[in-house]
């Protein structure tokens, strides 16, 4: 399974378990959590804690916007960008050491 699909599935499982209390309610990867009453602002804090713990990323203050966190698709893309950035930083750091 591609990494993005796996992340999307994990985030969906987290949302269903923690905010829909295990009830299977149909929602698409593009559906807004806020507009569909799935996650409120306190729930966003819980989602952030999940992302930071599960994927070892730091969600910065400026990242706390719906464009990053308000749907499964947004979260997946956000994580993908974060991981890419982390990888770039790692490569940059290694190159720096080589020099």
């Amino acid at each position: 399974m591609p990494v993005a699909s796996l992340v999307a599935q994990q985030v969906r499982e987290f949302i269903v378990e923690n905010f829909l209390y295990g009830q299977q309610r149909a929602f698409n990867d593009e559906d807004s959590f806020l507009e569909n009453g799935i996650v409120d602002s306190t729930g966003v804090l819980q989602l952030v804690a999940f992302l930071e713990e599960t994927y070892r990323v730091t969600v910065e203050d400026e990242d706390l916007i719906p464009a990053n966190l308000d749907s499964i698709k947004n979260v997946t893309l956000y994580l993908s960008r974060k991981v890419d950035l982390a990888a770039e930083a790692q490569v940059g750091g290694n190159q720096g050491r080589r020099v």
Binding site: L34, G37, S41, T42, Q46, A49, P66, L69
Partner: protein
């Protein structure tokens, strides 16, 4: 492009005398007629809302049938008690002071709150002050996530975004304050066979700016239909002292002074009033924007925030739910 709006700038102006009479009649009907109580207990904070409720109750029920209750605690502003006494004296109503600090200490409210803060700021301790604040929600699409602001004994301040556990810990502990106040209000209500007056205005009632079973608990809420600016209009009509009319709205809950804007509403209350009115009356963001002194996008963000807060407030307003109606007592 035209900058004219179809919305009048005076949409929230009311006939204060007529509204006062309407509410007075309403209070009499509710307290004597429906609740069958002999008077009213009003928790008076020295703020505009509780002051107006005290004035209305005194007019409706008679000054001898109203008790003003002052419930200071460790973090309260001394102004609250001073202004509360001024109101009781002005109205000639009975008043009682109940310091709830020992109750809160007994419930470990302060201890639990400080422990939650120390999850993020280990040095937080005696002599420090704190409050929680929202980010700017008007100028960008952001989540309403709180940060804590602390001030050390030497005046240095620090602001840190709250984690889920710290946020819940601080709010849960701090909510004990409103619940302790309500407990003592009902003591006096039981003692005198009075009803407890709730003091929310429309913004607070609609948007859930209250603690469930704390300040949200009451037997009647006589100004819950009034926008904040309308409460001020009534206050002026009722002859509320100028110092209270001009006192900024605070929560008087955290040890650092905290406005209602930074804690809950995100924008100044007169603008919030207009946005809530606009939302309630299906006025487009474009039409409301010039009246509110905001741009269309900002109004749209506030409209979205109103919906989000209403969704959360649904739980706060819910009475205990039954699996099956007990029809005999409906």
């Amino acid at each position: 492009m035209s900058t004219h709006s179809i919305v009048s700038a005076d949409i929230l102006e009311l006939d204060a005398q007529r509204e006062t009479e309407r509410i007075i009649n309403g209070i009499r009907g509710l307290v004597f007629g429906q609740l069958k109580r002999k008077g009213a207990v009003v928790g008076v904070s020295g703020g505009i809302d509780s002051t107006v409720v005290a004035y209305l109750c005194a007019r409706a029920l008679g000054k001898e049938r109203v008790v003003a209750l002052f419930t200071p605690e460790t973090d309260s502003s001394p102004d609250s008690l001073r202004l509360g006494r001024m109101i009781a004296d002005d109205l000639g109503i009975r008043s009682f002071i109940e310091d709830i600090s020992p109750t809160l200490k007994g419930a470990r409210c302060y201890e639990r709150r400080d422990a939650a803060i120390r999850q993020l700021i280990p040095e937080y301790g005696p002599g420090y002050k704190s409050k929680i604040v929202l980010p700017n929600l008007v100028d960008a699409d952001r989540y309403a996530l709180f940060s804590i602001v602390i001030q050390s004994p030497d005046g240095e301040t620090k602001k840190v975004r709250l984690s889920l556990d710290a946020y819940l810990g601080i709010v849960a502990a701090t909510n004990c304050k409103q619940r302790a106040r309500k407990m003592i209000e009902y003591y006096y209500a039981d003692l005198y066979q009075y009803a407890v007056a709730g003091t929310p205005n429309r913004l607070e009632y609609d948007q859930g700016f209250f603690v469930k079973n704390g300040d949200g608990a009451a037997d009647f809420k006589p100004i819950a239909h009034l926008y904040k600016t309308q409460v001020y209009q009534l206050a002026a009509h009722l002859g509320v002292p100028a110092e209270i009319l001009h006192r900024p709205s605070t929560t008087d809950t955290y040890s650092l002074e905290q406005s209602q804007e930074e804690f809950y509403f995100a924008i100044p209350l007169p603008k919030m009033d207009l946005c809530l009115y606009g939302k309630n009356n299906a006025i487009s963001a474009a039409d409301l924007a010039p009246v509110a002194g905001m741009d269309e996008k900002q109004v749209q963000r506030i409209y979205a925030m109103i919906d989000a807060k209403r969704a959360v407030a649904h739980y706060l307003r819910s009475a205990p739910l039954l699996v099956e109606d007990v029809t005999e007592v409906l």
